[in-house]
Structures are given as C-alpha cells and as structure tokens.
Amino acid sequence: MEDGYPRSSILHRRFWIVMTLLRYIPLLPLAACAINMFFGARLGKKSAGLLACAAVGASFAVAAYVFMLLPATGVFRDTLYTWFESGGFRVNVSFQVDALTAVMLLVVTGIGFLIHIYSLGYMDHDEGMVRFFVYLNLFIFFMLLLVMGDNLLLLFVGWEGVGLCSYLLIGFWYQDRNNTIAGNKAFIVNRIGDFGFVLGLLLLVTELGRQGIWTLDFGELQKHVNMLSPATVTAITLLLFVGATGKSAQIPLFVWLPDAMAGPTPVSALIHAATMVTAGVYMTARLHFLFALAPQTLSLIAVIGAATAFFAATVALTQTDIKRVLAYSTVSQLGYMFLAVGVGAFGAAIFHLFTHAFFKACLFLGSGSVIHAMGGEQDMRKMGGLKDHMKVTYWTYVIATLAIAGVPFTAGFFSKDLILWQAYSSAHGSQGLWLIAWLTAGMTAFYMFRQLFMVFHGSSRADPHAQAHLHESPAAMTVPLMILAFGSIFSGWLGAPEYLWGSRWDHWLEPVFGGAHEAGHGAVQTEINLMLLTLVIVAAGIALAYAKYGRPRTAVDQGAAGVLYRISLNKYYVDEIYDWLLVRPFTAISDWLARVFDPGVIDGIVNGVGARARGASAVWRALQTGNVQHYVVGFLAGTLALLAYYLRQP
C-alpha cells in the first residue's frame, strides 16, 4: 500500500477498489476490439462503432474516477500476474497510476473518446468502418498499456503496439498504393528508432544486473539508478532517445509523420494529438531520473528539439496541403516538448503535451471536417471562403489556431511561454535555444494564420460542383470540435505563470519529477519581458500572414518562387536525401543480393553440395538393383569373408 493511508480505514477500502479498477482502463478497449474483430460484421457498422465509442468512454470514466481519488503523492498499482520470472528477475504485468500517468490517461482516453465519436460521423460512408474501429480500439489499448505499465518492458510492449497500429491505420485505405507505402514508411522508420530503444533497454538491464539488481520496475530503477557509471547512463539515455526520435518524430527520424497523413483524418488526430507521438515525451518524462543523470544527453535533446521545432516550422510555411501544414506543425510542437525535456523542465514538456493534445486534435478534426465538406480535397489553393458555409468548424478552427499561435489566455500561450521561459532561464538552457524557440513561435503564428486565411477567408477557389456540395458536418463531428475548442483555451489555465494566478500544474507533477524538475527561477520582470517579446513576434507573424493571404481577392502564392521558398516547399529535400543516401544504396544492395548473391552463392553452395553427393552416389547406387537375390549374394560374400577372417591360421 503506497498511498500512505492507514489500513482498514474507509478510505483504504475505497482505494483497494480503485486499484482493482485500474485494469479495466486498458482492458475495456481491448474487449471491444476483440468483440468487433470477431462479431463486428454481424453487429453492423452502427453498433460496432457505438460499442467502440462506449468502451473508450467507459475507460475515460474509470480514468476520471481514478484521477479524482488519486492522492497528491500516491501511486495506485494493480498487479495482474507475473509475466515471467528467472532467478531474481521478475517482470509483472501490472498497471500503475501516478500524477504523470493520470495526466496521460485523461489525454489518451478523453481525446481518444472524442475522436471515436467524431469517427462515427466521419467514417459513416466507409465500407471498412468496423475494421477502422477495431484498429482504433487496439491503438487506445496499446497506448494505455504504454502509459500505465509499471515497468519498462510493459511500456515497450505498448510502444511497439502503437507502432503496429499506426501502420495499420495509416495504410487503412490499402487499395491506394501510396497509402500502403506511407504505412510502411511509418513502420520502418519507427522500427529504426525502436532498435535503439531495445538496445538501451538491454544495456540498462544488463548493467544494473551486473551490480546485482535485476529489475525493470520504474520504482526500483529510480532507487538503484545511481549505481550506474555516468558513461553508461549517457549511453543508455542516448539509445533510449533514439527510440524517442522515431516515435515522437524528431530529427533525424521525423520523416514518417508528414506521410502519415495518408490515413483517415481522425487517425491523424489520434496519432498526432493524443497518443503515439507523445510516447517519446512520456518515456523521457517517466525516466526523468535517468535522463537527469546524463547532462550531455539532455543538452543533445535540447538542441535536437530546438532544431526540429525550427526546421519543421520553416517547412510548414509553404506547404499547400491542409493536413501537411498541420503535420509539420506537430513535428515543430514536439520539438518544443523535447526542448523542454532537454533543459530539464519535464513538467513543462508534459504541460505542452497536454495543451497541444487539445488544440492539435481540434485542428486535425477541423481539417477533417473541411475535407469532408470539400469532398476529399486537401489542397488549400482550391479552398477559400469556407467560413460562411461551416460556422462551427470555422470558429473552433479559429480558437485552435489562436491557441497554437500562442495568443494570450489561450492554452498554447501558457504552455509555450513556459517552455520559452525554461529554455531561457533553466540551468541547462541558453539564450541561443530561446532565440530559436522564439523565432519558431513567430513562424508558427504565420503559417497557422496563413492556413486559416487560405481555407476560410477570401473567395472560394473550388470548382462549382464542389461549391454546391459544401455543407456543415453532422453533430457527431461538430460536438467534439466544440469540446476540444473549449479545452484549447482553458486547459492552459492550469499552468499559468507566477505573475498571473500561479500554476497548479507544477504542484501536481512535483511528486513525480521531484528534484529532477528544475524550475527556472529568474526574475519575474525578465519573464514578463520575454513574454512580451514573444507576443511581438507572434503579432508580427499574424500581421504578415494577413498582409500576404488575409485580404480578400489576393491571389494565393503569387509566384514567390525564390530559392528559399522552393527549399521549404520541397521540405529541404530531406526525403530525397534519405532516398539517395540510405534507401537507394540499401535497395541496390538488396537487389544485388537477391539477383546475384542469393542464386549464385547461397543457392550455389546448397545445390553444389547436393550435386556432389548425387555425382558420388551415381557409382554406388548401381549396386542397388532391387533384385533380392543379388543382395543375398552380397550377404553371402560378406559372411564368407568374415568367416575367412576369423578362421585364418594365426
């Protein structure tokens, strides 16, 4: 019992009930997934969808109940069974909820629930709706396993599981070859990262095992981690961070995320907002005690985070696909989170993860609503003037855009400013990091408002047929949008800076991060000044977007085809560079192996051995005539020879 309450009290009994409840949070979506998998076709699309939603909804309700009962410094743990045991090394299938997990739980199940409901409307016309909900539920299950597992191995199972589900969902419309390629890309890039993760995990286990501690429990790890030498910790954290760059789309493994747009839009929202990409941030936060011991790794993470944020923002400036802009903005925002992790501000990273989940889910679902209305069109150059046709979508989109741009008193303002402040003032931070993050904030405002103006303002550039078809989406899609828009503003109010009404967030997460959470303690006046500077560049970004795209009747992308523009439009040719440096040599080698080496050498050796044996036996097999009497003669000759041998005169 770790909650610190006396045994046999009423509270204690209540906690005991809660503990056995924990398992139902992940198991409910799994059960719905299994039912839909086997009986979904018989249930029909409608009931299967409703079942999937109900399961995630119930899971959210349980999570909320657990959240309410969770004491400030407590940990709930629910052990199901021992997975395996070898000597003193035991791994349990057991779930735990502490403050950090509780936040993740609410995000995953809450946002996941809204996305499920939205999917009811969005996938209504789709043939594969049952299959879609099976995948969606499985995704939620693995994500919950990831955040609730009380040891690193269970986390890894969830980690791999969401990778698998992302592959299934991105390639959901598998009839189109491009989609399956995008699915493969996501899976393969993730596997590269996962390889680093596995190596880190093994190194951690064996190095601790060498000290006599065989464990993967987070609690145990935290107790014993200081037995490791600094070099080992650095190696382990670097390897684990490789895994995080894959899952959370950081340089250099971010390339899969923009292509993940191939999946249905609710999937994009799920992958980008609530679940998969946050796994890397969650993992580093969960293992903060490990990362805190490796300052070199932390500074590398900070640099990579800042670089990713900046780089992805510059790409997003020129994209014309509505979802691609959002994809790069996700990469950019994840860069912010890793910047926060890198400067040791784990709480700020999780806070940004939390607020980002709301406004990014809102943006993606809003873009899905737009695409739905446009009949599948995703090119922003063919949109425009939609605000009169889709009021709810427009206003929720405006709110989410304000939030991600960081306009005061929206969620993004609080979380992004916190990260900027930490990047500046933390012991690991520097002015250079702050400057990059500051520039990125301006670009974020620019590209988001560019998108807003291109899609919703001005006059429509769609063809007449599509214009006639424009309509607001059904309530199943607009209601989640409104809830998310609400969250896009108010979710940030929990973590207000000290000069406003103070943060409840830090107190909430303090028991988890404890000493590793190094809040910046600069002068309040500096903090306010920095905040004002950020506001200036955000305002500049918005103004520039308005000047270029906001006025009515401005042509879109009026031939600004400079070199920088082309580089940005083509995403720095990263895909092409990877293609030339890695993919092509790899496929060329594989091709050579397949066409020359395998038939020539491998098959040659095997067939050669066979041919030699056959050749040698060509002589001897003539002895086997099949005639029994010949054998008898041989037998007789042998017997006589033996007889002669033994009877010979000595």
């Binding site: 099949g626 005639n627 029994v628 009497q629």
Partner: protein, 100 residues
C-alpha cells in the same frame, strides 16, 4: 556309432544346397523352400552337437527354430500369394521396383 563329422558334413552340404537355391532359383516358392532347407541344416548341427555333448540346450534351440520357421513360412507364403495375385508371376527377377 556314426562320428560327429559325418553329421556336420551332411549339414554343411544341405546348407550349401539351400544357399545356392536361394541365390539361383527363379521361383519364390522354391526360394522359400531353400530357406527352410538352410534352417533344417542348422537344426541338424544343433541336434548332433547336443547328442555328442550330452546337453539338452541344442534341442531346446531347435524347438525355437522350428517355431520361428513355421511363423516365417506362414508370413512368407502369404506374401507370395498376394504377390502372385498382383503379378501372375513368381519370378524374383521381375520384382525389382524397390530401388533408387
């Protein structure tokens, strides 16, 4: 009294006839009979030694051999009959399918 060597020579001769029969005859029934001939040649040796050494063990073994020979004759004849039904022939030269 007939000396032991005479029995042994007779036994060897019968055995040799049996061996030659197994090797050269072209009829499976005769081959089977030749095998019986070899067995009985051996029996004769056992009996002869048993008589001359004054021990019963040789005779006991002969009973074993006769029992086994009876069983062998039953199985062998059954196989020969079914082979004949299939092929209308008992020539072992024509039965050479079991090879590479």
């Amino acid at each position: 009294m007939v000396p032991l060597n005479h029995y042994l020579i007779l036994s060897a001769a019968i055995f040799a006839i049996g061996v030659v029969g197994v090797v050269i005859r072209r009829n499976l029934i005769v081959v089977l009979m030749s095998i019986e001939l070899m067995l009985n040649a051996v029996n004769l040796t056992f009996i002869a030694f048993s008589r001359f050494l004054g021990s019963m063990e040789g005779q006991v073994i002969v009973f074993f051999v006769m029992a086994v020979a009876a069983a062998e004759a039953v199985v062998g004849l059954a196989i020969i009959i079914s082979v004949f039904r299939h092929r209308q022939s008992l020539d072992p030269q024509e039965m050479q399918l079991l090879k590479w």
